[in-house]
């Protein structure tokens, strides 16, 4: 019983954190259409490439543009990757029965 309550509490905290995270970047809120071609104009791919090539170094401070993108512009994606890694480690430990 106590354990179930603990899990519910954890779930609630995580859900609240998720809502705060989503609402902190307003484009992800539901009910708000995000059409890049309309908002930013045509030729988006070329202009994105140009932006990264010309300004990414001074904006992020990293010479390695791959790092600048996956830890700067797309750090959310990296957060998901680390979560996947933590979960896979937990899964391997659980399946192999290697408890402390």
């Amino acid at each position: 019983m106590k354990r179930i309550l603990l899990w519910c509490f954890t779930g609630l905290v995580l859900a609240a954190l998720g809502i705060v995270m989503l609402s902190s970047s307003s484009d992800l809120l539901p009910g708000r259409r995000w059409d890049p071609e309309v908002v930013l104009g045509p030729g988006l791919a070329d202009r994105t490439k140009e932006h990264f090539l010309l300004r990414a170094v001074e904006e992020s401070g990293a010479i390695n543009l791959v790092s600048a993108i996956y830890l700067g512009y797309r750090a959310f994606d990296t957060l998901g990757e680390t979560i996947v890694l933590v979960l896979s480690v937990a899964g391997v430990l659980l399946v192999s029965g290697a408890r402390q």
Partner: protein, 138 residues
Amino acid sequence: MKESTIVDLVSRKLVPYILLFGLYLISYGHLSPGGGFQGGVVLSSAVLLLCLARGVNATRLLFTSRTVGVLEIAAFTLFLVMAAAGMAVGVSFLGNFLPVGRIGEVPSAGFILFLNLVIGLEVGAGITLICFALLKED
């Protein structure tokens, strides 16, 4: 199992340099090819080399699974805390609020260097834990 002197000696000489190379990959991730994921895997490959050459049980005395597990979770928590700290400071979630510094030097690029360090520790500890779980000595 028959012990080989060559494998024993070479692996023990090689492990510190592999660890150093992993740390180099992590800390230069924003300047040259490399970064947290790659450097972390190199770090754990040093531990794996020790496991294969000296045996898992001997290695686990040096890198206890408790230490490695705590390191893994601590690095991940630090990632989340610093990501959420961006909201508290005033930029977005995972926004760069640290000073960028002079471009091209090792302590530069604020948040990116920090994220590289944290991810490197986390990946290294995670892969090491997986290796510990999968390798068992009779």
